[in-house]
């Protein structure tokens, strides 16, 4: 195909970003793709740095990297020695490596420190039209800005450091359109769960998902990040939302965003990024946004979703035999029975945080429900973990911390926390956790822990009631 023809063909946003970053076409639909931005954290980077050192290589563009510790950091008592020697080793290694290789670094005691996927956007590092990678699968989060962002493995981390490129095969285009407008009591998390429930955890495999439609346009940047964050749970390595006025307004003035002298040129470039109106997608899915309700997962796969007003499904409702077996296993692990009302599931622990839901808007959403109420007696621990030090400061400025602590919630320091059992924040075996994170896999929040994925408002309501409740009743009740 000639170049002129290619250019006249309508393109999706993904096609455009891919084309803009192709250094060399390779055989079989692969290309050497240029990587603009690279976020680094303590868990997946030490061996990459080690490999660089062993081969005597230098980092191609140190300016393309921000390093920040998040997975292993304790969320309280940070002045005390870290109880886990392994975490300490990784944290110390990161610090030594960034020094040796001369990288931008946000240390643990910096007020900007936090989860990579909260910090990147907050610093204006994440921008429309860029390629952005990180050794973490939830890098899809950054797609909220119209950035092609995806997670990579340790040897790829090294490859990007040394060459600023990756050899990749192009994915196919999928568009998920959410029509209508989001009902009261629902937020981006419910949209994400509704999409995964609809297409399944393999529905996006091999695709990059572009989210479109009025519900997506109405979402704040924070909401779009929540949505793109869970693209990986829908099987897609990356998600995208077209940049618009909200995106530009969010970025303006942030430390790593284009400065005043380049702002207009950048915006002009960004405005060319959205998919052409007649672009062809390999797969299209439409979801009725008006029909979305607050959702709760009951199983050990993010597609195991039920409306809060519904019940745990019956095994016979599933057609595929493999899924039936998986459901039987899940229910056993979760300690739930077929047909049990979701509202009857008692909650033992509550976690509001993670790269899915730890931004200021999530804090406000939780605070609106919590204000003037108190955590139920049966709750062992209810914690709110802001995604970054800046989110924490902002929340405190707004007095949200006071609302939380008055209600009996713990207000922690930023980090991945109970999203994964890699730091001191864990749930006990058999405990039901109302969690705003993204994965409800077996043992994810601690051996034997039972995770239920929900929105911040739903997690807050569950903490107060001691079991799942329809947050819409709370909202109606308080107004």
């Amino acid at each position: 195909m000639s170049k002129a023809m290619l250019q006249s063909m309508p393109q999706t946003m993904y096609d455009k970003i891919w084309a803009n970053h192709t250094v060399e076409e390779r055989a079989g639909g692969t290309a050497l793709l240029y990587i603009d931005k690279h976020l680094v954290h303590e868990v997946t980077s030490p061996q990459a740095f080690d490999g660089m050192r062993a081969a005597g290589r230098s980092i191609h563009r140190p300016d393309s990297i921000i390093a920040v510790p998040d997975h292993n950091v304790p969320t309280k008592d940070r002045h005390l020695p870290n109880p886990d020697p392994m975490s300490t080793a990784q944290l110390t290694a990161l610090e030594a490596n960034v020094k040796e290789f001369g990288l931008n670094y946000i240390p643990m005691d910096d007020k900007r420190q936090g989860i990579v996927h909260v910090v990147g956007p907050e610093q204006g590092f994440t921008q429309p039209g860029v390629t952005l990678v990180c050794g973490d699968s939830h890098t899809s989060t950054h797609g909220a800005f119209g950035a092609l962002a995806f997670g990579i493995g340790t040897s790829e981390v090294e490859h990007v450091m040394a060459t600023q490129t990756l050899q990749l095969k192009k994915a196919r285009n999928m568009r998920v359109t959410v029509t209508g407008s989001l009902p009261l009591g629902c937020s981006a998390k419910d949209v994400a769960l509704a999409i995964i429930a609809e297409i399944g955890t393999a529905g996006g495999t091999g695709y990059v998902i572009e989210y479109a439609g009025p519900v997506i346009e109405d979402l704040s940047m924070e909401g779009r990040m929540t949505l793109c964050n869970m693209s990986i749970e829908a099987g897609a390595r990356a998600g995208l939302v077209a940049p618009d006025g909200k995106t530009f307004a969010y970025l303006k003035g942030r430390p790593y965003a284009p400065g005043d002298d380049q702002w207009d040129a950048a915006v002009a470039y960004w405005q060319e990024l959205p998919s052409d109106h007649d672009a062809k997608f390999d797969k299209e899915v439409t979801i009725d946004g008006n029909a979305i309700v607050p959702l709760v997962t009951w199983g050990t796969s993010p597609e195991d979703v039920a409306p809060v007003t519904g019940c745990v499904p019956f095994v016979a409702e599933f057609e595929a035999e493999a899924k039936q077996e998986a459901v039987i296993k899940s229910l056993e692990y979760m300690g739930l029975s077929e047909g049990q009302l979701i509202k009857d599931i008692a909650v033992d622990r509550v976690f509001i945080g993670s790269c899915t839901n730890s931004r200021i808007e999530d804090m406000r959403e939780a605070a609106a429900v919590i204000k003037g109420r108190h955590v139920a007696d049966r709750i062992i621990e209810a914690m709110i973990v802001p995604g970054s030090g800046l989110v924490k400061l902002q929340a405190e400025e707004e007095g949200l911390d006071k609302i939380f602590t008055d209600a009996g919630f713990q207000w922690r320091d930023p980090g991945c926390s109970m999203c994964l059992a890699m730091n001191p924040d864990k749930a006990g075996a058999g405990e039901h956790v109302a969690s705003t994170s993204n994965r409800n896999f077996v043992g994810r929040q601690g051996p034997g822990a039972r995770t239920h994925l929900v929105s911040p408002a739903m997690a807050a309501a569950a903490a107060i009631a001691g079991h799942f409740v329809d947050v819409r009743d709370f909202i109606r009740g308080s107004s």
């Binding site: 040394a162 060459t163 600023q164």
Partner: protein, 202 residues
């Protein structure tokens, strides 16, 4: 990465089938932050008893095979997880070439990345090489010619052309991509003009 063209060495015979990555390097040793230091735990269950005491006469520690750079082993070597720690560990024991009837896919891919040649030969030939290794005969590997010579016998082997190129040139994946440095450089020049805000540091 060290180039691989020819290798002459005595060999360690380890004719066990289905040696998985957990045997090569047990999962409990993966929590390191380095890619070195795995050699001491490589083949741990073969080399040490449950108390941690060295097992007398195991092929990996005995004097006889101390200088071996070649490992002769059994079918389906390297099956299990995708961990790159397995070739790292093997490399640290001094092996640069492994001969077996077959290898797990991901494992042989990971070997190339780490400069290790995996040679597949029919079971009968491998059996003969095991005997030769036990007798202390030198084995000669020639990657260019794709041959294994031992005493008077010559064995031809098949090998992936791209992998051969990487090993012979001493290039890992990064090294291979760095061959496109010029293209990367001119791409950057072009982008600096199109999106200067992404190149503020220089």
């Amino acid at each position: 990465m060290q180039k691989f063209t020819k290798l002459s060495s005595i060999a360690t015979p380890f004719p066990r089938v289905n040696v998985d990555t957990d045997i090569i390097i047990p999962a409990k040793h993966l929590k390191s932050i380095k890619r070195t230091g795995f050699g001491e735990h490589a083949f741990e269950t073969v080399r040490f008893d449950s108390e941690g005491a060295p097992i007398e006469g195991n092929v990996f520690d005995c004097e006889r095979y101390k200088d071996a750079n070649i490992l002769i082993t059994g079918d389906n070597f390297g099956c299990g997880s995708s961990r790159e720690h397995a070739p790292w560990a093997i490399s640290e024991l001094g092996f640069r070439c492994i001969v077996a009837p077959s290898f797990a896919d991901i494992f042989s891919g990971n070997c190339v990345k780490n400069g290790i040649l995996t040679v597949e030969l029919p079971q009968g030939d491998v059996d003969a090489l095991v005997l030769a290794a036990e007798a202390g005969h030198e084995i000669h590997i020639d990657l260019e010619e794709q041959t294994v010579l031992c005493q008077n016998a010559k064995y031809d082997f098949e090998y992936n052309a791209a992998h051969k190129e990487m090993l012979m040139a001493g290039l890992d994946e990064v090294g291979q991509t760095l061959r496109a440095s010029k293209a990367i450089g001119s791409y950057e020049q072009k982008q600096k003009a199109a999106t200067p805000w992404l190149f503020t540091a220089d």
